[in-house]
């Protein structure tokens, strides 16, 4: 039971990371892709939207790592060994993205230098979430094998498969879609920018359909256990609900109901992660590392669950304060 509670906390943190930190990466993707006469204004709107919150949003990732290595130390060690290369590359992306963003916000530099920071911020915002998708995808491929807590399949297994790479592209599309949808609200005082982001949200929502098709087809061969999980009784229900939120988000964007679009988009992303985790469960790394085979001893899990509960009591009101302050409905 305790390991299940920790697993659910991990999933919740992952979803919140995607909804917040993922959207910050999405903002970086749109910074990278900013074109047209309003490109500079788009970039400014993106920077203003994420500046006060991105550091807090990023901490979800740190929380995921520390809870993972406390609750599932062997699982963590295995992931960091088998996926050493993509994780290291992702870290370089995280360092570059964060530094370039904060460096670019220093106004005393020449326009030329600031353009370079913007470029670095954009590029790192593309390849970091791509690698995060690849890493999560690799866990489901069944290509990583473990015997006696040792990885036996080397350092290139899993993450170089079609399925993992499709997951990376999917993560990119998902975060781009989330960010564009959120940005329609952040830019509500600038109708032309708002429409730019609205169109980007609609296009990326549409692009998600074929990408998810590819992920689904690749899973058949490339992540058989996951694919098998999708044949369970709950799968059609969840798929139906995901489709409803996806279509609602699209319609809300089309009819400019941006607050509703944000809720629907967040719901869509949440349901995708819930479906993925149900299909992945009980595997942490398919097929050899499971939730029940690698969890820490009771004493650790009990304390961890208590810490998570108490931490949540402090964390959620604080986050509520942060988001109400910067994202709440305020005039002027």
């Amino acid at each position: 039971m305790l390991e299940l509670a920790v697993t659910v906390s991990l999933l919740l943190s992952l979803i919140l990371y995607a909804l917040t930190g993922g959207a910050d990466f999405g903002g970086g993707i749109w910074d990278f892709l900013a074109v047209g006469p309003r490109a500079e204004r788009q970039r400014r709107a993106i920077a203003a939207a994420i500046a006060p919150i991105w550091e807090a949003n990023h901490v979800w990732l740190i929380l995921i790592v520390v809870v993972l290595f406390t609750g599932f130390p062997v699982g963590f060690a295995t992931m960091m060994t088998a996926l050493n290369i993509p994780v290291t590359l992702m870290l370089i992306g995280i360092v570059l993205r964060g530094s370039a963003f904060i460096f670019g916000s220093y106004k005393s530099q020449s326009a030329d230098v600031q353009r370079h920071w913007s470029m670095a911020f954009g590029i790192a915002s593309v390849f970091t979430p791509f690698l995060q998708g690849v890493i999560l995808g690799a866990l489901a491929t069944g290509k990583i094998h473990v015997a006696n807590d040792q990885v036996t399949t080397g350092f290139f297994s899993g993450w170089l498969t079609l399925f993992a790479i499709a997951c990376g592209v999917f993560a990119l599309g998902l975060f781009a879609f989330l960010a564009a949808t959120y940005l329609t609200l952040d830019a509500k005082d600038q109708p032309d920018l708002q429409n730019d982001f609205r169109l980007r949200a609609i296009w990326s929502a549409l692009a998600l359909w074929p990408i998810s098709g590819v992920v689904f087809l690749a899973a058949r061969q490339g992540a058989a256990a996951l694919f098998g999980g999708l044949a369970s009784w709950w799968a059609p229900l969840l798929l139906g609900a995901t489709c409803v939120t996806a279509v609602s988000a699209l319609m809300a964007l089309w009819w400019r109901q941006f607050a509703m679009a944000r809720v629907a988009a967040a719901g869509q992303v949440t349901l995708i992660f819930v479906g993925w985790s149900l299909a992945q469960y009980p595997n942490l790394i398919t097929p050899d590392v499971t939730v029940s085979s690698t969890h820490a001893p009771e004493a650790t899990l009990r304390l961890l669950v208590m810490a998570l509960a108490v931490g949540a009591l402090i964390l959620f009101p604080s986050l509520g304060f942060l988001f109400r302050l910067f994202k709440g409905n305020r005039r002027g």
């Binding site: 807090a56 406390t70 963590f76 050493n84 530094s99 904060i102 001893p297």
Partner: protein, 439 residues
């Protein structure tokens, strides 16, 4: 130069880089809060200006600290998977608590930096207080985990497996208190002297600036209070280390032979083969006195321990001396400043004192880096003292030289950018600050 060497180098380099930002992340919020509090009480605009400009510098330091800290948390597994597989369940707890403390710090620093216009002055100040407290707490939790590596507790080792795990006992291990105290004070010492140094430098160029005079006062208050405490806490650290890790202490002091009336050796060239130290400055019976308050106390030398359990004596001894000398140099400058203060003379009117403050600016960080070398290299060859050897914990991943060089280049570049941005921020805005006594 094998993969173990590069894995250790990468960990050392990542930690050496991150610790600078981590220490400033503890010290700077304290200074911001002090300046803002001074503004609320005195209503002097100079303090508001000061808290705003310190906050601007903190934004960049905090961001780089956050991303480099993320790298470290992953590197625990990327470089030392066997260590994490075994120790994760024992010391994951302080890391998880640190996760929450750091979360609070990140949330409220966003509010603090960008929410000034949206909050009342008092609420804004309180937000700053939360940032400062959570910064201190996250430092405390992480250092607890390191202390456990030096004084492992809270588990039983049965056939190579950790059983009867008690994460609370692990956190409250015997090294926790002195390490936490020493590192927390170090953060204040280093930040206080570094900030004092910047404003002393600018006062030399612009002696009448009220802005820099106020800044120097606050920074010196932090530095001046924390450095004597730090020297005392260093004494405690040495005593506890002598008890818990006698081999580390012997390496720190370059003491090869077990002896009564053990001397303090300053500097010199330790020679592992001859078991002697050449050209060292010697204080007879000094070490016995320091450790046991008794000049004839017996102190264990390295000869008591098998050769393959020795750390690198030269590196540990020289780093230790560098740390201690830096500490006493800072204490001397703080005492000099205190003397002026007692005689009610403005510090800023003494160029020679200002120059001394400029010179001691980096010493807090020199001491922190040297101190971590003492802690970490001094624990070798163990990753968990007397339980697991570092070589048994390293990743099977080949070619660790590649990420080592990649992160080294990346961090050197970041260090250069951060330095030049902060420098530019201070120099360019220097003309625009409050200056009621025009020169």
């Amino acid at each position: 130069m094998n993969d173990l060497f590069f894995a250790r180098s990468q960990m050392a380099m990542s930690l050496a880089f991150h610790i600078v930002f981590a220490a400033l992340g503890i010290g700077m919020p304290m200074l911001m809060v002090m300046a803002e509090g001074a503004h609320i009480i005195t209503r002097k605009p100079v303090y508001l200006e000061l808290s705003q400009r310190w906050a601007k510098g903190t934004a960049i330091l905090f961001a780089v600290g956050a991303v480099s800290g993320t790298v470290l948390s992953f590197e625990l597994g990327l470089l030392w998977p066997a260590f994490m597989a075994k120790a994760g369940a024992v010391i994951g707890m302080p890391f998880s608590l640190e996760g929450f403390a750091f979360f609070a710090e990140a949330i409220f620093i966003g509010v603090y930096l960008y929410g000034r216009s949206r909050l009342s002055p008092l609420l804004h100040w309180l937000v700053g207080v939360v940032v400062a407290i959570s910064g201190i707490l996250s430092g405390i939790f992480v250092v607890t985990a390191n202390a456990w590596m030096n004084a492992p507790a809270g588990f039983k080792l049965v056939h190579g497996k950790f059983t009867e795990i008690d994460p609370v006992a692990a956190m409250l291990n015997q090294a926790s208190f002195h390490e936490v105290l020493h590192m927390t004070l170090a953060a204040f010492v280093a930040t206080g002297f570094a900030v004092a140094s910047v404003h002393a430098f600018l006062l030399l160029r612009n002696p009448n600036s009220l802005f820099h005079r106020s800044a120097l006062g606050l920074a010196l208050a932090v530095a001046g209070i924390s450095i004597p405490l730090q020297i005392a806490s260093g004494d405690l650290s040495a005593r506890v280390t002598g008890r818990l890790q006698p081999a580390k202490l012997a390496a720190m002091e370059a003491l090869y032979r077990t002896q009564t009336r053990a001397p303090v050796l300053i500097g010199g060239i330790p020679d592992d083969a001859a078991l002697t130290v050449r050209c060292a400055l010697t204080i007879p019976s000094g070490l016995s006195l320091l450790l046991a308050d008794d000049p004839s106390a017996r102190v264990a030398g390295l000869e008591e321990f098998p050769r393959n359990d020795w750390p690198d004596v030269r590196m540990v001894h020289w780093s230790f001396d560098l740390m201690v000398l830096s500490g006493f140099a800072m204490l001397a400058v703080a005492a000099w400043s205190g003397w002026f203060l007692c005689r009610r003379r403005p510090l800023a009117d003494h160029p020679s004192l200002l120059r001394a403050l400029v010179a001691t600016g980096p010493l807090g960080f020199v001491a922190i880096e040297a101190g971590w070398v003492v802690t970490e290299v001094g624990r070798q060859p163990w990753i968990i003292y007397n339980v697991m050897r570092t070589k048994d914990a390293v990743t099977p991943m080949p070619g660790i030289a590649a990420p080592f060089f990649a992160f080294t280049v990346l961090y050197l570049f970041l260090a250069f950018v951060v330095f030049s941005l902060l420098r530019r921020q201070f120099l360019e805005t220097d003309g625009a600050v409050v200056r009621p006594h025009p020169a």
